[in-house]
Assembly symmetry: C2
Homo-oligomer: 213 residues x 2
């Protein structure tokens, strides 16, 4: 049973926002929507992983967020998307008509609260991101990202990392070389292992957590 203000589980959110929608597949690096386009849909990752990003005029890219199975993205206050979204690997994405969602929110208080909750969670994550970019060193940022991926993909020690080094760099406000060197140094210190480029084993989670706390 839901409290008047809190919706406590992802599945509860999904139940409230269960609106039929198409569920197309996108392949690796395919654009789902672009910055400045009309925000006619809200999206949910069914399988795979998605990145959302913004670009400066000169090409500098900042990845805003990574989205994993179950996550919603593309929810906007205004009429236009403020970020672009691309699949990081083959992904299936549920499309929810924005009009259907606002109709639902207008009729049902719990749906309106679910939307508020999604937005507020996005804000919390963005605030964490700000703290990371403003005040943490490269090694702390990388450690934090690995732990975040572990948590959000429900991985134990061994992670499937769906993003390239460039994606990690553009999320962390670093360069690809710094990310690579930092991962190597974490490996040298025995905190992680890198069996392959897109797999990371967390060997000393406690130590990683100490870096990010």
């Amino acid at each position: 049973m839901l409290s008047p203000i809190r919706i406590d589980t992802v599945s509860a959110l999904d139940a409230v926002l269960a609106i039929p929608g198409a569920c197309p597949r996108f392949c690796r690096d395919e654009e789902i929507f672009g910055e400045g386009e009309s925000a006619d849909y809200v999206y949910q990752v069914v399988s795979g992983a998605v990145r959302t990003h913004r670009l400066l005029r000169d090409g500098r890219r900042q990845i805003d967020e990574f989205h994993f199975a179950g996550d919603y993205f593309g929810l906007e206050l205004g009429e236009l998307h403020r970020v672009s979204a691309e699949a990081m690997c083959d992904a299936s994405i549920r499309l929810i008509r924005r009009g259907a969602l606002s109709d639902l929110a207008a009729r049902r208080g719990d749906a309106a609260r679910a939307i508020l909750r999604l937005t507020a969670e996005g804000l919390q994550r963005s605030q964490d991101h700000v703290l990371m970019l403003g005040r943490r060193s490269a090694i702390e940022r990388v450690a934090g990202l690995l732990l975040d991926i572990a948590e959000r993909t429900n991985a134990r020690a061994e992670l499937d990392v769906p993003m390239s080094r460039q994606d990690m760099a553009d999320y962390l406000g670093l360069t690809i070389e710094t990310v690579s060197r930092t991962l190597t140094s974490l490996q040298d210190e025995g905190l992680i292992a890198l069996p392959s480029v897109r797999h990371v084993v967390l060997k000393d989670r406690r130590a990683l957590e100490r870096m990010t706390a």
Copy 2:
């Protein structure tokens, strides 16, 4: 947010959220609430200016946001404040009981939408902050902050800067010395003037905007 009905002005928001509340005064650097405290109120700046921040264990500080007259802050999804808030100068702050706000939101769709709108605007600002910290140089960050202050305080060319250099640094992810040097170099280039420490004159706004676009 999702609804076709938009609330377009701050005053409209205020009308919807007009709940009687105390309006205490805080003096410079006084804490309004602390990170981890129970979030029993939502706050609105009546006059003055407020900063919200988070601290790492070792004392590194990241300012999350500056709040000016009319701005709401301290709105939380969960039970606890995730940031601390302090007055940057003498300020009067309206306190709104959170319970009163959620009652109102439960009864009136437009109030619920107003809360969503506030949250979504906070998210947009936080995303802009992420882009700034992740991918902009010191001079671009400082220029961006000055323009932001100008816009939010409705200043034309001459700005009243309510924050210290340390506050600017902790918002921009820089050090106090870098902020100071950057302001000096903007002055040397003729883009701004610094008649006194807490006053800035924007002499070439176009050039400043070019840096931040």
